[in-house]
């Protein structure tokens, strides 16, 4: 009858196993610290070889590689990823504006993992059982690090995207008072339903706060329009009328004019003028302004 022996790298680690793992990790860390210069250079070489981080110079790559390497080994030693998380966020902040892609960041971390694993293979290749245990200790920690860095990078990237979306939203619909009781709303770029809704809100609020009587909506910068947005535009004009303001729409491009007629949007009640200049002149007429050049006024009076 064969003797039943507990397998050494058991699936459920006992406390002695955990201690063993910790001891191994310490040994590992010592090894990685000892070979820091050589491994780091190997890593930087492989980053260049793989054509990653092309947006950065060799020196920069080496400097970053050093900090990542040290952070990496620290995490292996302590198991605390907070410092690495902070570093990853900081690194992402610096490199995202320079156009570094997600695959590059993940790529370099995986390369480092590979470089280190190879060095471990080399060191322990004579003792297969020990190598097995070393890898048991190394792999989960290394995976965790790769995960932390990648997630940190992606989160930072998403944060930047959110910020930019916010900025675009705020910039997209300026409501400009040009004269007393006259507002201009220049629209540039494609209008999607969400933007259209926001535009209406801002315009109606602008009419109220500026006590506007005439509003010129200039859509010269709008390349195309669909039926939802066109209907929204008509509704905006109607709502503005309920607030006692007249809306003049200017700068309808030939394409938009054709689209509107083809899809059969009722624009009968909309006041349209060819260009912004004409729109402002019409608005001034409605408000009772008369603008004439200074040089001509004396002769006109004389």
């Amino acid at each position: 009858m064969p003797e039943i022996k507990p397998r050494r790298p058991g699936p459920t680690p006992t406390s002695s196993d955990a201690e063993g793992t910790a001891a191994l990790l310490r040994e590992l860390v010592a090894h990685l610290r000892g070979n820091r210069t050589q491994l780091r250079e190997e890593w930087a070489r492989r980053i260049t070889e793989a054509k990653l981080l092309t947006a950065m110079t060799k020196e920069e790559i080496f400097a970053e590689a050093t900090s990542i390497y040290d952070n990496y080994v620290d995490v292996l030693e302590t198991g605390a990823v907070e410092a690495l998380q902070a570093y990853a966020r900081n690194l992402s902040e610096r490199i995202i504006p320079r156009g570094v892609e997600t695959h590059e960041v993940v790529g370099i971390v995986l390369l480092l993992r590979d470089v280190m694993a190879r060095s471990l293979f080399e060191k322990y290749q004579s003792d297969f059982a020990l190598l097995n245990r070393v890898l048991d200790a190394y792999e989960p920690a290394a995976n965790r690090i790769a995960n932390t860095v990648a997630v940190g990078f992606v989160q930072e990237r998403e944060r930047i995207i959110r910020e930019q979306q916010e900025a675009i939203r705020e910039l997209s619909t300026p409501v400009l008072p040009v004269r007393e009781r006259l507002l201009i709303l220049p629209i540039i770029g494609v209008i999607d339903p969400q933007r259209a809704r926001q535009l209406t809100e801002q315009l109606l609020r602008g009419i109220r706060t500026n006590r506007a009587k005439v509003v010129v909506i200039d859509i010269t910068g709008v390349p195309s329009i669909d039926s939802t947005v066109a209907n929204h535009l008509v509704q905006t004009v109607e709502s503005a009328r309920l607030l006692g303001a007249t809306v003049i729409v200017t700068g309808l491009s030939p394409e938009i004019a054709q689209t509107l007629v083809t899809i059969g949007v009722d624009l009968g009640k909309m006041n349209t003028v060819g260009d912004l200049r004409g729109g402002i002149e019409e608005a001034e007429r409605l408000l009772g302004y008369k603008v004439h050049p200074l040089t001509e006024s004396p002769t006109a009076q004389a």
């Binding site: 209406t200 109606l204 709502s239 309920l242 006692g244």
Partner: protein, 128 residues
């Protein structure tokens, strides 16, 4: 909820202070059409600043009111529709067509002044 109707010079001002039931609205309509004759008013201002909802009944009553007042020889202007109310009205297809609107009481008075002056001028020209 009774809506106070104030006489201000040639005009009547009905200032709605809170949400109105359908009956209140009809009472207001009757009172206004009545008083336009009593005070020989030239214009009526409906101030709906305080309303945050305008349903189809309210809109139809206001449109009807405008026509009735016109028949009694005066002008109507509705003032103070809130931006959100305006947009939801338009989305529901309640456009108050043929009814004059203005931003607030001041604007409404200015509109009526202009309108009444134009009528007076037309009458004077006819006399000449």
């Amino acid at each position: 909820m009774v809506v106070p109707i104030l006489k201000q010079g040639q005009y009547l001002i009905a200032s709605v202070q809170a949400a109105l039931t359908d009956t209140d609205l009809l009472k207001l309509r009757d009172a206004l059409t009545e008083q336009v004759g009593t005070y020989r008013s030239r214009g009526v201002i409906m101030d709906v600043t305080a309303l945050d909802v305008m349903d189809s009944f309210a809109c139809r009553t206001l449109s009807d009111l405008a026509v009735m007042i016109k028949l009694r020889g005066a002008e109507t202007v509705i003032v103070g529709i809130q931006p959100e109310v305006a947009f939801s009205m338009v989305q529901l297809g309640l456009k108050l067509e043929g009814v004059a609107t203005a931003l607030d009481l001041e604007e409404g008075l200015a509109y009526l002044d202009q309108k009444v002056k134009r009528v007076a001028r037309a009458i004077n020209e006819q006399k000449r």
